[in-house]
């Protein structure tokens, strides 16, 4: 055995040993992410979010809030609207109240001038019902999110709530109410020619985050007497106030609305924006509508105005605006659930109603 063979043998043995034990061909571990999840109890969770949020509590507890102003933009009571209603309140319905009908109408005779019936014994009668549809169809109502058929006992409403009835002893404290539930809805129109089973029964979109309810008012600590500020301090304070709040002390400005809070407002309006009765042209028209809000997050009906429109004629814009106005007013029985501490951010809202997606439903 010569030296070369020895060296070769040693080399090969070393290489085989390295391969076997050195891990050179071992695959790299696949990359993966580790998410740490810690389990905490409900109590701990509540304590975590209830306790250390001093800034939120402080903002809500603004003592001047109730006396901001006597709510000059409060929505007028419907009865008051009636008093100023355009139709003449005159008890005597004078014929001249009704404008004369347009050109086609002056024809006093609306007789059909029916053609002579070759077989007068034939009379039009109501035909019996014809072949009722056997297969259940998806809901005729189309909404952003699919809604399962509600309890037949429940009255249709935007808000789902259980029935509350007076107990026999009449001691129920809660106000009596009937059960309500949102109406059944599909996410798109499904024609007879399309497979009903193809209609999604639930929306893939996650539910929008709702804004957290206002934190309970915390008793504001009695402010300690502060030293009289110097003129220089006042100037700086004024500049600070102007920079942060525009100097409007009576309107809580707060930070801008979070994405969740905006989403909640968007969803609330969307649920009442009914485009089903709009013309094709109105469905091509985008309108921007402005509205002033009261501090209890209700729209001031008289302030709803058309800012701009695009994509359609004036008539179509008017139709689209009417639908938008109805949407803003309809779903605000209890207000829009906007954070009152940020009133300054949403006291005026501009909503763009873009029906582009609704055209293809």
């Amino acid at each position: 055995m010569n030296t070369g063979q020895v060296i070769s043998g040693i080399g090969h043995a070393g290489l085989i040993g390295w391969v076997l034990f050195g891990g050179v061909f071992r695959s790299e571990p696949l990359p993966f992410e580790v998410t740490e999840v810690s389990v905490i109890s409900t109590d701990a969770f509540d304590a975590l979010f209830a306790g250390p949020q001093p800034e939120t509590g402080t903002e809500v507890a603004l003592p001047v809030q109730p006396e901001v102003e006597p709510d000059p933009v409060e929505t007028p009571a419907p009865d008051e609207v009636v008093v100023t209603d355009p139709p003449e309140p005159a008890p005597e319905p004078e014929p001249e109240v009704i404008p004369e009908p347009p050109a086609p109408e002056p024809e006093p005779e609306i007789a059909d001038a029916p053609p002579v019936q070759p077989q007068p014994e034939q009379q039009a009668v109501i035909a019996p019902e014809v072949s009722p549809r056997a297969v259940p169809r998806p809901s005729e109502r189309v909404a952003p999110e699919a809604v399962q058929p509600p309890d037949p006992e429940a009255a249709p409403d935007e808000v789902e709530q259980e029935a509350v009835a007076q107990d026999e002893a009449g001691e129920t404290v809660a106000e009596e109410q009937e059960a309500t539930a949102p109406e059944e809805a599909a996410t798109e129109i499904v024609t007879e020619a399309e497979e009903p089973a193809g209609a999604p029964t639930s929306s893939p979109r996650p539910p929008a985050r709702r804004p957290s309810p206002p934190t309970e008012t915390v008793e504001a600590p009695t402010p300690a007497p502060t030293p009289t500020p110097t003129p220089t301090d006042n100037a700086v304070n004024d500049a600070l106030a102007e920079a942060l709040g525009g100097g409007e002390d009576e309107v809580p400005q707060g930070p801008p609305l979070s994405a969740g809070e905006k989403d909640a407002l968007r969803v609330a309006v969307s649920n009442c924006w009914n485009v089903g009765s709009l013309s094709s042209e109105a469905l091509m028209t985008t309108v921007v509508v402005a509205v002033d809000m009261t501090q209890d997050s209700k729209p001031v009906t008289s302030s709803i105005r058309l800012v701009s429109s695009s994509g359609g004629s004036t008539a179509a814009a008017n139709q689209a605006f009417e639908a938008a106005r109805r949407a803003i007013i309809r779903c605000t029985r209890d207000g829009y659930n906007l954070p009152v501490e940020k009133y300054g951010q949403w006291k005026e809202i501009e909503m763009t109603f873009n029906p582009e997606r609704m055209r293809i439903k």
């Binding site: 419907p78 009865d79 009636v82 209603d85 355009p86 139709p87 309140p89 005159a90 319905p93 014929p95 109240v97 404008p99 009908p101 109408e105 024809e107 006093p108 609306i110 007789a111 001038a113 029916p114 053609p115 070759p118 039009a124 109501i126 035909a127 019902e129 072949s131 005729e140 109502r141 909404a143 109406e183 129109i189 499904v190 024609t191 007879e192 020619a193 500049a239 920079a243 968007r266 009914n274 485009v275 089903g276 709009l278 013309s279 094709s280 109105a282 139709q319 009417e322 106005r325 109805r326 949407a327 309809r330 951010q345 005026e348 501009e350 909503m351 763009t352 109603f353 609704m358 439903k361």
Partner: protein
């Protein structure tokens, strides 16, 4: 002091981030499609004995609106307010409480055979009247037309589209079993009321078509044993043969929008082509000259183009050509066979019958063939016709079997609101006339 200045500096830097430029702005892109709740109380009787008429008028107005699928009538049992005085202020709060979004109030007076109807439309949530009040006068015999006219105005003011309730439909009334079916022409209100027969049932009649003004009807009759085209005056029920050449068969006629030109198919031997004819002079012009079958021509609203069906490609498809003839372009390319195309009064869509996979469909497509959408599916659906406003399609549906029956149906162009049209007997081949004046 230094700390305050630093705070001021920080605030000035942060201010553009926190401050909102103008009002809060959001974009709404999702809405709902659902019927608009409308309240239609009985019309207030202003003369003695007109209360029943007021109730009937309200029922027809409400039926017109709800029949579109765009409105939902609120039952009178839900009303908080009762309208007993047409001139009294509207209690918006009461109507808002029951979620009425539109309110129609009216009054009726009857004097002899004369009837006078006035009405107002209110947007409840806006607390305002939609448009001015209107009144219609006519004879008591025509009370349904007055109700349709009121409903047309309401529909138009809310949707922005013209209505279609005061219109009529000519169709083929069918009685008897399939093996011995009797057919005759009939005309009815759009909702199936007031049916009147235009011909007897001695011979087979097919494919009646209203003129644009609604005063004449074209149809095909087999009374000579061969199909021939007739034109009938709806008012006098007088008719005449429009086209008759020995050894030929003529069928599938349709008026041009001008009412003076008629297009139709003429079959000679095994070849069928499309011709046009001046209805006054009788002069005919050949529009196609292919060895295949060309039929079912239909004009676009301005009368410059014609859509028709042809099997020139080997299978039945839809084509569009100039109204004067010439090169045709194919617009249907989907699976199956397409036929009976009808151009929408709006000019943007073509309705058609499609046969695919053993089922028949009524569908719509753009005039370039794009955005095809099938609205119905059944054993046999055929013969679409457009409502005057281009929003609704009426067609005939036949059920399967020896006892199968042909019935008229209507469907919204979105595919919603499919519903039968109630006629005394079976019905087929509907042709929707114009809005009456």
């Amino acid at each position: 002091m230094m700390v305050r200045l630093l705070c001021l500096l920080a605030a000035l830097i942060a201010a553009p981030v926190l401050a909102q430029d103008g009002p809060l702005r959001i974009e709404i892109t999702e809405g709902v499609i659902e019927p608009l709740p409308v309240a239609v109380p009985n019309l207030v009787p202003e003369t003695e004995g007109s209360a029943e008429m007021g109730a009937q008028l309200a029922r027809v107005i409400a039926a017109d609106l709800t029949g579109t699928g765009l409105f939902r009538e609120l039952p009178s049992s839900a009303f908080i307010s009762q309208v007993s005085d047409f001139g009294a202020p509207v209690q918006y709060a009461d109507w808002k409480a029951i979620n009425a979004q539109a309110l129609v109030t009216g009054a009726v007076s009857v004097n002899g055979d004369q009837i006078n109807v006035k009405f107002r439309l209110y947007d409840v949530f806006s607390g305002a009247e939609l448009g001015d009040g209107l009144q219609f006068a006519g004879t008591t015999d025509g009370w349904r037309r007055i109700a349709h006219k009121v409903a047309d105005v309401v529909y138009s003011r809310i949707t922005g589209e013209t209505g279609y309730f005061d219109s009529r439909v000519v169709y083929v009334s069918e009685t008897g079993p399939k093996a011995d079916r009797r057919k005759r022409l009939a005309v009815m209100d759009y909702d199936g009321a007031n049916v009147q027969y235009l011909t007897g049932s001695e011979s087979i009649v097919l494919a009646p078509r209203f003129s644009a003004s609604g005063d004449r009807v074209l149809y095909t009759s087999y009374e000579t044993g061969f199909p021939r085209i007739y034109v009938l005056d709806v008012g006098s029920v007088q008719r005449r043969v429009l086209e008759s050449q020995p050894g030929t068969m003529s069928f599938a006629p349709r008026f041009a929008p001008n009412g003076q030109t008629v297009v139709y198919s003429l079959s000679q031997g095994s070849n069928t082509d499309i011709f046009s004819m001046d209805i006054n002079s009788g002069a005919a012009t050949r529009l196609t000259s292919a060895p295949s079958i060309e039929t079912a021509p239909s004009f676009n609203p301005d009368g410059t183009q014609i859509v028709f069906e042809s099997d020139r490609s080997g299978t039945q498809q839809l084509y569009v050509m100039p109204a004067s003839g010439g090169e045709a372009r194919r617009i249907s390319f989907g699976e199956g066979r397409y036929g009976t195309p009808v151009w929408s009064p709006r000019g943007d869509l073509v309705a058609f019958t499609k046969q695919s996979k053993g089922r028949f469909h009524i569908g719509v497509m753009r005039t370039d063939g794009s955005e095809e959408r099938l609205l119905t599916a059944s054993f046999l659906d055929e013969g679409p016709t457009w409502s005057p406003n281009g929003r609704v399609i009426m067609f005939a549906r036949e059920t399967q079997g020896a006892t199968g029956r042909s019935t008229l149906y209507s469907v919204d162009i979105t595919g919603r609101n499919l519903r039968p049209v109630r006629t005394p007997d079976g019905g087929s081949d509907p042709s929707w006339g114009p809005l009456q004046r």
